[in-house]
């Protein structure tokens, strides 16, 4: 699948390999994600409580709520606990700001990509995701 780059990561990594963490329900980074360890605080239909966003390819179909989301993302970036890539349905300036500031501060920052929610639905939770520039592919481990 082809995605768009909302914001390039820093430093730019040729190929990102990560496990998909798919959030089908709307989430707010502030309130639903712990800024100290990247745990998902809000229960979701796939029982995601306690799962960590760190290192994942985080698929978010809908972002919700607070204007403090950028701070939570920046803190995760600062603590090296950010997702490896964040995939959104549409550009979100509040979340992107966390990444924009992360880059300015010189901290490793994940790219923020755009993939429409309808296209996101084909990616199963836990799939192995490979992101190379604007191309997203995934495979499901049968074992």
């Amino acid at each position: 699948m082809q995605c768009e780059i909302i914001l390039a990561g820093f430093p730019e990594v040729e190929v990102i390999r990560a496990k998909a963490l798919v959030l089908p329900e709307p989430i707010s980074f502030w309130g639903d994600v712990s800024s100290t360890d990247g745990r998902l605080l809000q229960h979701s239909p796939c029982n995601d409580r306690e799962r960590l966003v760190g290192g994942s390819a985080l698929f978010i179909r809908e972002l919700r709520g607070s204007s403090s989301a950028s701070s939570v993302l920046l803190e995760l970036i600062y603590r090296r606990l950010a997702p490896a890539a964040i995939i959104l349905d549409s550009p979100d300036a509040i979340l992107a700001l966390g990444a924009i500031v992360g880059r300015e501060m010189g901290w490793p920052t994940p790219p923020i990509l755009r993939l429409p929610a309808c296209a996101q639905t084909v990616v199963p939770d836990g799939a192995k995701v490979v992101i190379a520039h604007t191309s997203i592919s995934f495979s499901v481990d049968d074992s």
């Binding site: 403090s68 509040i94 924009i100």
Partner: protein, 481 residues
Amino acid sequence: MSRTQLRRKAKRRRGGRFNPKQYNDLVISYGSISVRFVRELMFDLPITPVAARYRSFRSTMSLDLDREEQHLLSGAEGDGTALAMRIVACAARVLQAENLTPIHAAHIDGCLYHGDSGVLFAERLVALGARVRVPTTLNVGAIDLLHGDRDRLEPAAKDMARRLMNAYVAMGAKPTWTCAPYQAGHRPRRGEDVAWGESNAVAFCNSVLGARTNRYGDFLDICAAITGRAPRTGLHLPENRVATVLVDATGIPQPYWNQDIAYPVLGTWLGHVVGERVAAIEGIGHPSEDQLKALGAAAASSGAVGLFHVIGTTPEAPSLEVAFGNRPPSEVIRLDPSTLENVRLTLSSVRLEAGDAVNAVAVGSPHLSKAELLLLDRLLGNRQCAIPLYACTGRHVVNEFSAEDLRSFVDRGVILVADTCIVVTPILPRSSGVVVTNSGKFAHYTPSNTGYDVVFANFRDCIESAVTGSLQLTPSFPHAV
């Protein structure tokens, strides 16, 4: 440069003498900075200036910067202003704005401590000499500076939270420390472009004041204040302020709207169902400013609501025709009593019966207005609270009361919290339990942010629950009307 590239380069340089353990120790020895800087330190190279990094940024659209904006970007007004301008410009590109709009005022949400990263950023702005260019107020911090012992922050975190608050004041922002700046004298005029953070304040600013702001997140808010510019997009553009969804509440009996719980319930529903679209609500009469505040706060907690209209009440909706720009709504939603009753039930995280024991009561999200605190005073009367009653408000309200009035709150067991509130900083006792609240926003955030369960009740029931230490729950609509 990626870690693998760095490793390859180090290996090449060391040749046969490359030792993986030594290499790893060396990388770690540079601390938690980005790998590209490690490369520069390790090989004694000059550190590339930050601006060079922007070469990597791709943009599908060009952003037009006028002469003044380019001047700010150039660093002629200081490195801090240039840094802020780079961030505003980058955000504008993410938002695909074609240009920037001058703003007249700002309200900053970035002063709430979420971790050390935000402090380091604010202090970098201060160190680079950044100052706000427009009148700027500050949202809540993590510390009640009027009553220093309200929070349970660890000393290190408290120190950082204080450093953060100091940094924003050092940039010239007013230390208002409230999420209801619109009740602390910061009231932009209708049609004025401003840059506000804090979701409830944004909803109020757009909907009730008719000033124009997007939902500015942390960092962009202060950068807009420093540069006096914001991306011209979203709700800054008149065409995006026109309602598209009609919420028809005429099917709800009018007495419903006399209950204070009606507004957080309607707001929660609005956030869930309408989200970012602009709704015009018809048939709820003429809500007061405090009721609109509760509506907007709940809507902005459950969904991305930045603007709503109430026909006949809010400034951009004198009539249906004006609110919809003489176009038909793209969707009409008729509200019925059972929908609202179901939403009310979702605002409690635990089902309790009247008379069940509860542990605390919290009101004041958004911060209580003077009228709301006076109502609390009157409803409580001479009675003593059996459990803590947290009343969160701004110093603009606290300062309106005499020392004697304030002592009388304390004597009755009311814990006044200023400058902050119970969901943004640890204030509730460490044990868990149940909090009763009348706030849609507290109801939304209390379980995840405090670990307490929450029961949603009207203002009077909140006060009665505080006095008795057990849940007082007046049957509400539809049973009450």
